[in-house]
């Protein structure tokens, strides 16, 4: 069973406020320049919205046995194009989304894959290094996130790892 822990999202907007001396008219020249305070205000809103499929609240890979392939998390159905998670960009700048595990996956997890489309053939293997989920997600848009897992000789019971999702402003 995999456990989601983190996602980072940054909302940035820039406003320039110029305040200066408001008083009697004064002629400014090179010898008497006007000086004021320029303040870059970056009003920020750190809110976000993450939706899950069905009635899920976390990512659970339930295998049929100790060896299994193409395991989808409960609630995901790639054939029906139902991702386990969608991440909404509620910011006001284009964002890239990446993910990784904060500690290495168990050795019996031979593959852990992520993709923004329902096609596992396009999915990227990942472990502790950040990999791209999707890029240039515009404000108000969202990215789906599909996951698959493959296991060999897995021990019985539940094993968890922390999945971290980060966002960064698109170039």
């Amino acid at each position: 069973m995999e456990k989601i822990e983190k996602i980072s999202a940054v909302v940035i907007s820039v406003m320039v406020v110029v305040s200066g001396i408001a008083s009697t008219a004064i002629a400014y020249d090179a010898n008497n320049p006007w000086t004021g305070t320029v303040k870059w205000s970056i009003p920020s809103d750190t809110s976000f919205t993450v939706t899950f499929a069905g009635s899920q609240t976390q990512i659970n890979f339930t295998a049929s046995g100790k060896n299994d392939t193409l395991i989808e998390p409960d609630g995901q159905d790639a054939v029906a194009e139902t991702p386990i998670i969608t991440i909404e960009n509620t910011g006001n700048t284009n964002l890239n989304f990446k993910c990784n595990l904060t500690s290495a996956k168990p050795s019996w997890v031979t593959h852990l894959k992520v993709c923004s489309t329902p096609f596992v053939i396009d999915a990227t293997d990942f472990n502790t290094t950040l990999v791209l989920i999707n890029s240039s997600i515009a404000p108000g848009e969202s990215t789906p996130m599909y996951l698959w897992s493959y296991i060999e000789n897995a021990p019985a019971g539940t094993t968890t790892r922390t999945l971290m999702i980060v966002s960064e402003q698109s170039a």
Binding site: V17, P43, D45, S47, T49, T51, F52, A53, V166
Partner: protein, 273 residues
């Protein structure tokens, strides 16, 4: 004759099948047409007369949030990107649900100390809200990073974030007081202290869990079931599945908000001049 009888029988079955299908579809569509749209703004107070002007000037630096009454900051469009988030409400996809979502506004406050005297303090207000389209109740605790020179107090520092779907809860936004106190003489300069979301205290979380689990159903939740089943029918999926998600899987759900954490919730900048 036998063949004619069979043919009539087949045609009859086909005709009956079509009539039944049309009736069922009409019934479903009529059900939707007869039910008014979900009034997701029902708990939001009316906007003050000067709301547009106040909102315009929020970034001027002259408006202290603590001086505004809740009729301003309970409005969804008080916050960035409401116009883009409205699709959660106007075009809702009932096959999914909003589970985690929250944030601060403003999330990057800046305070300036013109003294380094121990005990000097500044306080200010920050709004903390549930994300748009969230159906869960999220317990959250905010904790500042340790810092050598400043004590940061957040009041309240743990609270229950209420849903914003299918309707905005009356208190979907919380007003937080943040006190910054010098505890050790700081060198002049700039400091950044992050405030992060963590799991709430266990006893408090347990209280919230049971409080949420036992709450009464609302008319809007019944409305969601009707709409979800209609969506399922339109998409050729099982209405019962959608109904079960809403009636059982998603109902009265408490979650730990820090499970899905968007980095620092508040980035506090302190300038000592």
């Amino acid at each position: 004759m036998d063949k004619l009888g069979i043919l009539v029988g087949v045609v009859g079955v086909v005709v009956v099948g079509v009539v039944v299908a049309i009736s069922y579809q009409t019934y479903s569509l009529n059900n939707i047409k007869q039910v008014p749209p979900i009034d997701y703004m029902k708990n939001i107070p009316p906007k003050p007369d000067d709301y547009a002007l106040i909102k315009r000037e929020m970034d001027s630096g002259y408006i202290d949030i603590s001086e505004l009454n809740e009729s301003y900051w309970l409005q969804p469009d008080f916050y960035p990107n409401w116009d883009k988030a409205k699709k959660f409400y106007d075009q809702h996809d009932y096959s999914r649900w909003g589970v985690y979502g929250h944030g601060a506004y403003p999330a990057n406050p800046e305070v300036v100390f013109n003294t380094t005297e121990i005990g000097s303090w500044i306080n200010f207000t920050v709004l903390y809200r549930t994300g748009y389209g969230i159906e869960t109740y999220q317990g959250i605790k905010l904790v500042p990073e340790d810092n050598e020179y400043f004590d940061i107090e957040i009041i309240p520092n743990q609270f229950l974030l209420k849903p914003t779907f299918p309707v905005f809860a009356k208190d979907w936004v919380r007003q937080l007081k943040i006190n910054v106190t010098i505890k050790k003489e700081p060198p002049k300069g700039n400091y950044t202290i992050n405030i992060n979301a963590v799991r709430p205290d266990k006893e408090q979380a347990k209280k919230w869990f049971w409080q949420v689990l036992r709450r009464e159903s609302t008319p809007e939740e019944q409305e969601m079931i009707t709409r979800a089943k209609y969506q399922a029918e339109k998409e050729g999926k099982l209405p019962e599945k959608f109904e079960k998600w809403i009636e059982v899987g998603r109902k009265n759900k408490y979650v730990d908000a820090s499970t899905f954490n968007v980095g620092p919730r508040i980035t506090l900048k302190i300038k000592v001049i």
